[in-house]
Symmetry: C2
Subunit: 349 residues, 2 copies
């Protein structure tokens, strides 16, 4: 089969982003929202004039509204299959199983993509590009599964089969626990002396970046997956208590830091596979227009690929330290090239 018309129920960040991407790929889209204003906005954004029955209905509304949305969709006869995109799969699967929908006509899925901002206004067609998209297609009608795979492929995402329970446990560990920890840590800053906060460095900033996420979105996700998160949070609290008891014992502290290193080393590098070890090349630049351009010009001239980079600034001053992550060979090539050109590059020794 080939998708020609997709109906998307829910016009938030994910639903609207799917709509935008599908229309770009030549698929007709009907955007639906229980809020008439939101539906009008989404239709205006997505700009599609579909006709006939959809090949696929995507339930893209919040977890708490999925049962209701499904019931409302089923009031008229629908021939296509259904697919959802919510962050917690076992709960949704259980709810759908009690609906009048025939077994096999629902494909639970979860695109592992998002932003710290929500709503159709933040939608973008490339949101899913190169991101994992989990599918639980056990017992699902083969045609519906193929429709799901085609959708994922059109959006540039990477389909990964995983049963719903494993999915929920995986995201509890990799997404929900980190979110709660970042929020709990950031909340400790409330009431701190203002002069202290100026001392915050890149370490703290990175650690609490995702604390900027939406309470509205996350309260549902966490509550819906609380049974998978609870044992993880319990273990983290126990480990924290053990550390607290041994806080003045260097052996206890060293073991916590070492265990953290081991855990961090398990996360694969940017292209999947094993973490690559980069050579980091620090360069001091003036923080003004044109400096980054000039630097990356030199990278291109030296034919060196920048794998990653960080920019560090400091309170009250306008010089920046940019650190490029490069292959060892690239770092050697670029640093001698930059030094010839008079850049303030600090060759790692």
């Amino acid at each position: 089969m080939s998708l020609s018309h997709v109906r998307i129920v829910g016009s938030g960040l994910i639903g609207s982003s799917i709509g935008l991407a599908l229309v770009q790929e030549g698929v007709a889209v009907t955007m639906v929202d229980s809020d008439p204003r939101a539906q009008a906005l989404a239709r205006d954004l997505v700009k599609s004039a579909p006709s006939g029955d959809p090949d696929l209905v995507i339930l893209a509304s919040p977890i708490s509204t999925i049962s209701e949305a499904l019931k409302s969709e089923l009031t008229s006869p629908v021939k296509s299959g259904f697919m959802d995109i919510s962050s917690v799969k076992t709960k949704v699967k259980a709810e759908v199983s009690t609906s009048p929908l025939e077994a096999g006509r629902f494909l639970p899925s979860h695109p592992m993509a998002g932003r710290e901002v929500g709503g159709a206004e933040s939608a973008r067609a490339d949101l899913f590009r190169a991101r994992p998209w989990i599918l639980d297609s056990a017992g699902v009608d083969p045609d519906l599964r193929l429709a799901g795979l085609e959708l994922i492929s059109l959006l540039g995402a990477v389909a990964i089969e995983m049963d719903s329970r494993s999915h929920d446990e995986a995201v509890a560990l990799l997404s929900h626990l980190p979110q709660l920890v970042a929020s709990l840590l950031a909340s400790q800053l409330e009431g701190a002396d203002e002069a202290w906060l100026d001392l915050a460095g890149a370490g703290l900033r990175d650690t609490i970046r995702i604390a900027g996420s939406s309470p509205e979105l996350w309260k549902e996700i966490v509550a819906a997956n609380s049974s998978a998160i609870a044992p993880l949070l319990t273990r983290l609290i126990e480990d924290s208590q053990r550390l607290l008891r041994g806080l003045s014992d260097e052996k206890v502290v060293a073991e916590v830091i070492a265990a953290g290193q081991r855990g961090r080393d398990l996360i694969p590098g940017k292209h999947g596979g094993q973490q690559r070890s980069y050579t980091y090349l620090p360069i001091v630049i003036e923080d003004k227009p044109g400096q980054l351009a000039a630097l990356f010009d030199e990278c291109a001239k030296a034919e060196v690929n920048v794998e990653d980079l960080t920019i560090e600034h400091s309170p009250g001053q306008f010089t920046g330290l940019i650190t490029l992550a490069l292959s060892e060979e690239g770092a050697a090539k670029l640093s001698s090239h930059l030094q010839e050109k008079g850049w303030s590059v600090h060759v790692p020794r």
Copy 2:
């Protein structure tokens, strides 16, 4: 006075970086280390041929060795003042006060700079550029204080006066607690299914980045500042327990996430002062040499200053999503410029 000769006891990352920077500024430096091999390496790196007595002695060895280093320095008559650079101030101040050194001849200080890698090999002269450098000069001889201020100024750092107790409480909150939290969180990944780890996104990566830090370094810092860290870790554990009890209650979860947002908003933006609100411009690029250069070339042509940027990659694919942080005006200017040139830019709506 003007510094002409500084003696640096301890040739790790901080001591060697100070040495490198001072020599660049025309100040003679004597590098000293209790380990003869480390001392030879540091002298080779720093390349200085000092003569006569030092104007200032910097104790740059680990906290646990400072008393010993000071005692050894005092075996020959030293006219200059002493300064340390350790991460915990009250403990060092108390230890020094029991030494034979006259009151006023010791200036406790702490440069808020570091790297996830240590040792003289990782030293760089620009390590302190634009970073805060805390001083506790109450009761310190005015000449020694001036020498300290001159040193900080030569290194390009920003001097900030703060009493030792406030310093220790501030770094407990802004540096030590985040380090422990990142390590505790990262350690939870040990034993996880390998297939799950491929799903890790930028959120998790940022949250545990500093978990890569050295256990050797951190065990001393945490143990020495345990009395300031303990109440913070205790409160964090209590907040975590309250969250655990209410994990399936959306109200409880929403309040934790909202408190995290409030805390994060307290951290000033990159140039100090209040956090600036940027407009974020997402652009999809091919992950190959020359693409970043071409992009920043366009930024320079459009005369737009890039305030910050992030690069996001995904497992198994080689396209990257680069998000530029810009002023609202800059974002409008750049996005129309880039669209004219055919870039895959996604204008925020």
